[in-house]
C-alpha cells in the first residue's frame, strides 16, 4: 500500500473542517487541509517534508474527529514525521527524546534506576516480584521523573490505600508507553516499547491497568493489543470509588474551579463526565465550565511530541489563552487530569503573569486536599 492509499488521501473532499477546528492553524504555519491536498497532488510524502509546521501539530485529533469522510489527517502528520525519522532529519530535541527513550525507557533520558524516586517513603508493591494485585498502576514517564508531577502518583497511591484498592506497580521495569514516541514518527521504537510493556503486563498477573496520564491510557486502549485487559484512566476508577462510597471527602475546598479537558481523555475517548463527577463531589468546590469545553476543549499544545518539539508557531500560546479565559470567568483554579496539560498550563500561567491568580492543579491534588492528606 503506498503512502497516499495508507492515509486515504484520494477520499479527501477538501471541505476544510479539519483546518477549521485545528487548535494550532491560527498560530503556526500548518494547514492540514492544504497539506492533504499537496501530498495527494505531489504523489508522495516528499513534497510535504519541508512544511515548517509539521512539528506544531499536537495530534489532538480534532481534525480526525471532525472529518466527514472518516479520514485521519492527524495520522498523516504522524506518517510524514515518520518519513523524517527514517531520514534521520528531525529536530535535536526530538532526537534526544527518542534516544533517551531507546536507552533509558523515558524521553527525558533519566536513569531507569531513578524511575521510582517519586515514591519517596510510600510502600507500593512491585508486580510480580512482591506479590499479587487486582490493578496495575502505570505511573508514566512524566509523573515518574518531573519534580512538579511526582506528588500526583503519591496521592493516587494513598487514595487507593484508603479505598482498599488492591494495586501494584512495575517499578523500574516500567518503560515509556510510546504514545508520544509513535506520534513523533518513531514507529519502530514504539513497537519495541509496546512489546516490552505488554510482556511486563502479562507477567504482572493483573487483568486491569490504571494510568496517571491520558496519553498512556490512549495508547494502551487503542494501539496495544491487550486481550482481556481492562484499561482505565485514573479519573474513571476514582469516580467509581466515590460512587461506591469507598472514597469520601472530609475537608472543604472553597474554590471556583474550571476543568480543562485533556484531548487524549476528552475528545479522543469521550471521558468527559468522570473528572467532573470527582470535582462536583468535593465539598465547597464550585465547578465552572470553559466556553470551549468537552469535545470543543482547546488543546494545551503539550501532546504529539510537543513536549520535545518547540514548533514554528508564534504569538499567544493556547495555554495562555486558556489561563486568561479562566481568569476572566473568575476561576481561581484550572483543574486538569493530564501531566502534559498541567505543565503547559502552568507555563501559560507564568508567562501571562497570572500564576498567583490562577492556580493549575491536577484533580488529584484537589482530592488530596479534600481528603485531608498532608505532606503531599
Amino acid at each position: 500500500m503506498d503512502f497516499l492509499e495508507k492515509y486515504e488521501l484520494y477520499a479527501c473532499l477538501q471541505c476544510g473542517k479539519c483546518t477549521g477546528g485545528c487548535p494550532v492553524s491560527l498560530r503556526a504555519p500548518l494547514n492540514i487541509r492544504s497539506l492533504m491536498h499537496e501530498v495527494l497532488m505531489g504523489g508522495s510524502p516528499e513534497v510535504a517534508l519541508e512544511c515548517p509546521g509539521l512539528w506544531d501539530c499536537t495530534t489532538c485529533a480534532t481534525c480526525t474527529l471532525r472529518c466527514p469522510r472518516g479520514l485521519e489527517p492527524s495520522e498523516l502528520i504522524v506518517g510524514l514525521r515518520g518519513e523524517l525519522v527514517e531520514q534521520g532529519n528531525v529536530p535535536k530535541t526530538v532526537i534526544d527524546a527518542l534516544e533517551g527513550t531507546f536507552k533509558h525507557g523515558n524521553p527525558w533520558g533519566k536513569p531507569r534506576q531513578k524511575r521510582t524516586e517519586w515514591k519517596e517513603d510510600i510502600a507500593v508493591k512491585v508486580l510480580p516480584e512482591e506479590g499479587e494485585a487486582e490493578w496495575l498502576y502505570f505511573i508514566g514517564c512524566a509523573a515518574s521523573y518531573d519534580p512538579r508531577l511526582q506528588g500526583i502518583p503519591r496521592i493516587l497511591c494513598r487514595v487507593f490505600e484508603t479505598a482498599g484498592v488492591s494495586f501494584g506497580i512495575l517499578g523500574t521495569k516500567e518503560s515509556c508507553c510510546g504514545n508520544e514516541i509513535r506520534r513523533m514518527g518513531e514507529e519502530g521504537l514504539f513497537e519495541e516499547l509496546r512489546e516490552e510493556n505488554t510482556k511486563n503486563f502479562n507477567a504482572s498477573g493483573v487483568k486491569a491497568i490504571v494510568t496517571t496520564s491520558p496519553h498512556c491510557f490512549n495508547t494502551f486502549s487503542t494501539e496495544y493489543e491487550l486481550d482481556g485487559f481492562q484499561v482505565l484512566h485514573y479519573t474513571q476508577l476514582l469516580a467509581d470509588l466515590i460512587k461506591e462510597g469507598k472514597v469520601t471527602f472530609s475537608h472543604e475546598v472553597n474554590k471556583k474551579v474550571v476543568y480543562h479537558d485533556p484531548c487524549f481523555l476528552g475528545k479522543q475517548h469521550e471521558v468527559f463526565d468522570p473528572p467532573r463527577e470527582i470535582l462536583r463531589a468535593i465539598p465547597g468546590l464550585e465547578l465552572l465550565e470553559f466556553d470551549r469545553s468537552r469535545e470543543r476543549s482547546l488543546c494545551c499544545e503539550g501532546g504529539g511530541g510537543r513536549m520535545w518539539a518547540e514548533g514554528a508557531g508564534e504569538g499567544e500560546r493556547n495555554s495562555e489563552i486558556r489561563v486568561k479565559d479562566a481568569h476572566e470567568m473568575g476561576a481561581e483554579i484550572i483543574a486538569t487530569a493530564c501531566p502534559f496539560c498541567l505543565l503547559t498550563l502552568e507555563d501559560g500561567a507564568k508567562t501571562t503573569g497570572l500564576e498567583e491568580k490562577v492556580l493549575i492543579r491536577d484533580i488529584l491534588e484537589l482530592v488530596a486536599e479534600a481528603m485531608g492528606f498532608d505532606n503531599v
Binding site: 527514517e86 534521520g88 532529519n89 535535536k92 536507552k103 536513569p111 531507569r112 512538579r148 519502530g188
Partner: protein
C-alpha cells in the same frame, strides 16, 4: 574518498551513581546503559557526509567486547558501508597505545584517505588513541577538528584552540583527524534503520587474526596500567540545599542576597 572511523562503546553515566567494582580498577557495569561515544557519533556523521558529497566508502571499526557490535551496527544504519569488531579477552587492560596498535593492525589492509576518531572518549577521557594511531601509521594528524573540507589531494580543516580561537590547516592525505563535538548535527538513527542493516555482515577479528601477540596488548603491551579508581574526596565548602523546588529556590535567593550577588 575512503574513510575509516574508529569508534568506542561506552557507558552512559550522566546522573548515575557510579560504583567502583571489586577489583578497585573499574566500575560496576550492572544496570548501566551503553552506547556509542558521543564524539565518535560526530565522527561517523562527518564521514558519512563526506561520502555523500564526494563518494567513496566508510568503514567503522571498534575494539571491545562482543557487545560492541551494537555501536558499529548503529554506524552502518547511519550510513557506513562496512564494519569490523576486534574482540579478544587478551586486549583487556590495554591503554591508548595498545588500543592504537590493535587499530593499526586492523586497518592495515583497508584502503583509506582519511581516518576519523572522536577527540576523546566519554569514559576515560584520555584523548590519545587518535594521535597515537596516526604516529603508528606514520601519517599526519590534527586534533579537535571542527570543520573538514575536501580538496584535491589535501584537506582543509579547522581546529579548536584556546580562548575561542580557531586555526585553519591544509593537511596532505592520507591523514587522521580527531573530531570535536559540534562539528555537525548527527542525524537520528531509527530502530527501523538498525533493523534494515541487520543482514550486513560485520567482520570479526581476534588478535591472532591481526598478527598481534598477547604481549603487544593488554597490560603487557601498555605503558599505562590503572592502579585504582575512586570517587574524588568530598571537599569543603559545598552546601546542598534540600526541600521542594520552591523551598530550594527561596533558600538560594537568600544566599545570593546575603552574599550581595543580587
Amino acid at each position: 574518498m575512503d574513510i575509516i572511523v574508529c569508534i568506542k562503546r561506552v557507558p552512559e553515566v550522566a546522573e548515575i551513581d557510579l560504583q567502583v567494582d571489586q577489583t578497585g580498577k573499574g566500575i560496576q557495569e550492572e544496570g548501566l546503559v551503553f552506547g556509542v561515544n558521543d564524539w565518535d557519533n560526530y565522527a561517523v556523521e562527518e564521514a558519512v557526509r563526506i561520502k555523500e558529497k564526494h563518494g567513496g566508502k566508510v568503514t567503522a571499526i571498534t575494539v571491545g567486547s562482543e557487545e560492541s557490535e551494537d555501536v558499529v551496527r548503529r554506524a552502518l544504519a547511519l550510513g557506513a558501508d562496512e564494519a569490523a569488531v576486534v574482540t579478544d579477552p587478551q586486549a583487556e587492560g590495554s591503554d591508548a597505545y595498545a588500543i592504537a596498535k590493535v587499530l593499526a593492525a586492523a586497518i592495515k589492509d583497508i584502503p583509506y584517505d582519511i581516518i576519523l576518531t572522536g577527540a576523546l572518549a566519554d569514559d576515560d577521557s584520555y584523548a590519545q588513541v587518535g594521535a597515537t594511531l596516526a604516529e603508528l601509521l606514520d601519517i599526519p594528524h590534527a586534533t579537535l577538528v571542527t570543520a573538514i573540507e575536501i580538496e584535491d589531494k589535501q584537506v582543509k580543516i579547522k581546529r579548536e584552540l584556546e580562548g575561542g580561537m580557531e586555526e585553519e590547516l591544509a593537511v596532505a592525505t592520507p591523514a587522521l583527524f580527531t573530531i570535536q563535538s559540534g562539528i555537525n548535527e548527527p542525524r537520528y538513527v531509527s530502530i527501523m534503520g538498525i533493523r534494515k542493516v541487520a543482514k550486513i555482515e560485520v567482520a570479526k577479528h581476534d588478535l591472532g587474526a591481526l598478527g598481534l601477540s598477547p604481549d603487544q596488548v593488554g597490560s603487557a603491551g601498555s605503558f599505562i596500567t590503572v592502579e585504582k579508581i575512586f570517587p574524588p574526596p568530598v571537599g569543603e565548602g559545598a552546601q546542598i540545599l534540600e526541600g521542594s523546588p520552591d523551598e530550594v529556590a527561596t533558600k538560594m535567593m537568600d544566599i545570593f542576597q546575603k552574599g550581595g550577588v543580587v
